[in-house]
Symmetry: C2
Subunit: 405 residues, 2 copies
């Protein structure tokens, strides 16, 4: 007779984390004593253990969700189910774009653990962009990532039974609620989660009193709540992208859910637009600034073009059902997705400027006057994108609007 | 020691159905031998037992799903889960409009059984309308039913966690697939489920070759597949409504699911429009015809007005979240719902004319020439509603279009 111990969740430590990876035989048993373990997470949401065998340079990441979130000193309970969502999303994405996501070696639901590829040789894109780096493959990789994950998870490809199963699997109420509040609601009202310097109050009150803006933001929020079109990353900002000259990896899809197809693209565009604005302050000399800003706008433009081309190719090759041969159906989807992405970009720009979670691109501008100036510009840009999204028909209109902001 | 027998599904019979209701104590134990049991279903999808105590006139209905569907001689497997969906929908509807649905006394998931109120004193609305009956409360009741079930199941009322739970509960892949195919796809293509007389082929081919129509039908199908807005009945035609002078009961919600808020209204409008067309042949004399047709158009008009007013009242009284105070948000929802309902009505009109499942309103027109004439008119009307739905802004435009068909 054997006694089956009930396994329960407990946070791992640098001392016992190796037990989780032993069965993978990723490291030789005789190397185990030589492994170096470091917890490298920021401690707000997850534990992240980096486990390396220094002599061979082989390494693994063990990511474990914590049962709470810490933001600006406060702590609130947060579902461990997000670890399941994250690893399911990584595995689903890997079916169509394995080269654009970290490889998952193991998941453990009880421990809320995902064991995955080490990407220490990559840099967080946001940091790299602030420092003025450029990556020629970024646009193609993110356009491909968005188009492929969208197409393969959509009703254009999946049998409706399978689509509905996927929607159920990626139902993510707690993390979606964070987006509902922090992206789509709080920044548009005088809410205590908002965070902005006093000097911005006139600009912020202008937003709060703009009925047309609020009405359009409500439409976008309603789309986020109701339109289960494709599997989304759910938080595709430049801090969710790991990059090198030759490799792009989209990480941390714990916000993954089924939503409107323009959502991820909008967040990516917004974060590039915020960096574009901030380069007016960051870039060391005019020539360098112009070149960086052109790169950012070209990245937006090429990302959309890649999305459109990749999605269209997949459609023509693989879309199911007789309507896939009907003129205009693909075009309608692409136009809706494009205009949605512009509106979602506007919401992201506003919330990253006055909401709870800021971006370093703007906040790290050292001169406070200059920082305020570009934050005001960001609010105007976000508001315009939300209200005018339906008048945008080409990507050049978007990049021109960002350039003119 | 007691042996627990595993209960399994098996079709009930007139001999054993009483065992299912015994625990309800609806009938006295000493009445049991006096009960009269009749199976009154049509045998295509469900068994329906009417159990009556003749002396007291007390009666109950036991409805049991069969594990298959029979349509025009063919039989295919169909999930028993639809019995769960049906009773869950009836119970959810009863929370806001208990007077408009049959009362549920018991459900049994293993047996796929719902025990409910007997409505033998009611008439099926379709039959009554074909015979020229009118019901003054119909519009108010259906408008109230649609508005209340929509509002209380929507993101405007429910906490997002609860909304997402409800969406999961009413995920109904198999029955939705029937609608996807038979309403939104097959009638628009040369598919073998279609059913129409040879003489209609020119009109039908005109539809099949109308790229604008197909493109718009694809948009409506995509809305049906992706927009999880409110809990819908899913099959709200005039055969799903039981009626008397003083009572309206919406029955048979086995197609219930979360979808676009205009869907049920569209189906109801479509079936009244089909009856309106058919009264040109059915009504015995011109005066009677005019009066009947006016009643049908007024019912459409008053149903929409009741929907709009009831939903607006609930919104102003109970809508949650700060955007509920923003001008235009309610208006946007109502306009989208209105225009969607017109498009969905168009799809229902077309599929009821040339698809697999017809309506008696048109098919019972005895003169074949006359029947063909009105079927052609129905196809033209359906096509117009689908293509022009976005140009409709008042309910009078819809009733005028139906009158002119």
């Amino acid at each position: 007779m054997s006694i089956q111990l009930e396994r329960t969740y407990e946070p791992l430590t640098e001392l016992n984390v190796i037990e989780v990876i032993r069965e993978l035989n990723y490291f030789l048993l005789e190397q185990e004593n030589e492994l170096v373990v470091n917890e490298i997470g920021d401690g707000n949401l997850n534990l992240v253990f980096h486990i390396e065998h220094p002599a061979t340079k082989r390494a693994l990441i063990v990511k474990q969700a914590l049962p709470y979130a810490k933001v600006v000193g406060e702590s609130w309970p947060l579902t461990l189910d997000r670890a399941r969502i994250e690893s399911e999303a990584l595995l689903t994405e890997a079916e169509s774009v394995p080269h654009l996501v970290p490889k998952v070696f193991k998941t453990d639901r009880t421990l809320a653990v995902t064991v995955m590829e080490d990407l220490s040789d990559h840099t967080i894109l946001r940091k790299a962009l602030i420092e003025g780096s450029t990556y020629p493959k970024l646009a193609e990789d993110i356009g491909t990532f968005s188009a492929s994950t969208a197409f393969y998870s959509s009703d254009f490809h999946l049998h409706p039974f399978e689509k509905k199963e996927q929607v159920a699997k990626f139902t993510n109420p707690e993390l979606c609620k964070i987006t509902e509040d922090l992206v789509f609601t709080d920044p548009f009202f005088d809410h205590d989660t908002n965070d902005f310097p006093e000097e911005l109050i006139d600009s912020v009150e202008k937003l709060w009193n703009d009925e047309e803006l609020l009405r359009n933001a409500a439409q976008l929020k309603y789309s986020f709540l109701t339109r289960a079109e494709v599997l989304l990353h759910g938080d595709l900002h430049t801090g969710s992208i790991f990059i090198t000259e030759n490799s792009t990896k989209v990480i941390d899809p714990e916000f993954a859910f089924y939503g409107p197809a323009g959502f991820d693209l909008g967040h990516f565009f917004a974060n590039l637009a915020l960096n574009h604005l901030s380069q007016n302050a960051h870039a060391k000399e005019p020539f360098n600034r112009e070149s960086l800003q052109n790169y950012l706008l070209e990245t937006i433009s090429n990302t959309w073009d890649t999305f459109e081309n990749t999605f269209s190719d997949l459609w023509h090759e693989k879309a199911a059902g007789p309507f896939s041969k009907t003129n205009g159906v693909l075009k309608d989807f692409l136009q809706q997705t494009f205009q949605d992405s512009i509106g979602f970009a506007g919401c992201e720009i506003i919330r990253r400027t006055i909401g709870l979670a800021h971006v370093a691109d703007l906040d790290s501008i050292e001169n406070k006057e200059v920082q305020l100036y570009y934050k005001k510009k960001a609010l105007e840009l976000g508001s315009k994108l939300i209200k005018k999204r339906s008048s945008f028909t080409t990507i050049t209109q978007l990049t021109d609007t960002i350039r003119g902001a």
